[in-house]
Amino acid sequence: MSEDRFLDQVTALLPALRAFGRSLCGDPARADDLVQDTVLKAWTNREQFQSGSNLKAWLFTILRNCYYSELRHRKFEVEDPDGVCASQVAVSPDHDAKLHLRDLNRALQELPVDQREALILVCATGLSYEEAADVCQVAVGTIKSRIARARDRLIDLLGEDAARVAGPAAFGDADSKELSQRSGTS
């Protein structure tokens, strides 16, 4: 792959990288720092990328490694590296769609990181189970069990409120129209 082509493809994937980073750490500024590190590492190691393989999964792997590396460093700086105390903030029930999304983000941060990343990779980024297993360097079965635990915990955290507001099929292919129509209703 030519350098320009590589950088073009990285550029096209920046939105997905930013979204993945933010889902992982829950902090927009920190996520963008992670993405910057990821881009630099990807560029430095671009010779290791095999043209024709999945660049998105490769970049997610690098971002994940950056995140874990940062977590290890933060352990020396703070007593609460995984946000255990920070996550004690109560999830207040509110039927506004935007607030629900913030609640989801907050609830996500309460999950163990291995469960959070598995859930995000498969359910939000659109990677297959196999690709997610590749990114996390575990077996597909492990990804599935982590997703199952993450799902159960999130349902528990978000509570019946979320399911009641959403209805059984309402969020199947949620888009902004659906959500904006629903916001304000209870």
């Binding site: 950088l7 073009d8 990285v10 930013r18 999964a57 490769w58 498969v122 659109g126």
Partner: protein, 63 residues
């Protein structure tokens, strides 16, 4: 390490397809996760990234 099972073109990479994950996660939860993700993807990419990419491009051309 398991081989990557799919090739992803840039334009496809921007869209998170709905796949069999729905079987494991209820629709309302999967939908909210995708919405949360796509909300960030819809944000304009900050200028700092454009500057970084430009810097890398220039570096490559200059070397």
């Amino acid at each position: 390490m398991i081989a990557m099972s799919e090739k992803t073109k840039p334009e496809q990479a921007l869209i998170a397809p709905v796949s069999d994950q729905v079987e494991q996660v209820p629709d309302w939860l999967g939908g909210r996760l995708r919405r949360m993700f796509s909300d960030v993807m819809d944000e304009p990419v900050p200028d700092e990234f454009k500057a970084l990419l430009k810097q890398l491009e220039d570096k490559e051309r200059g070397s």
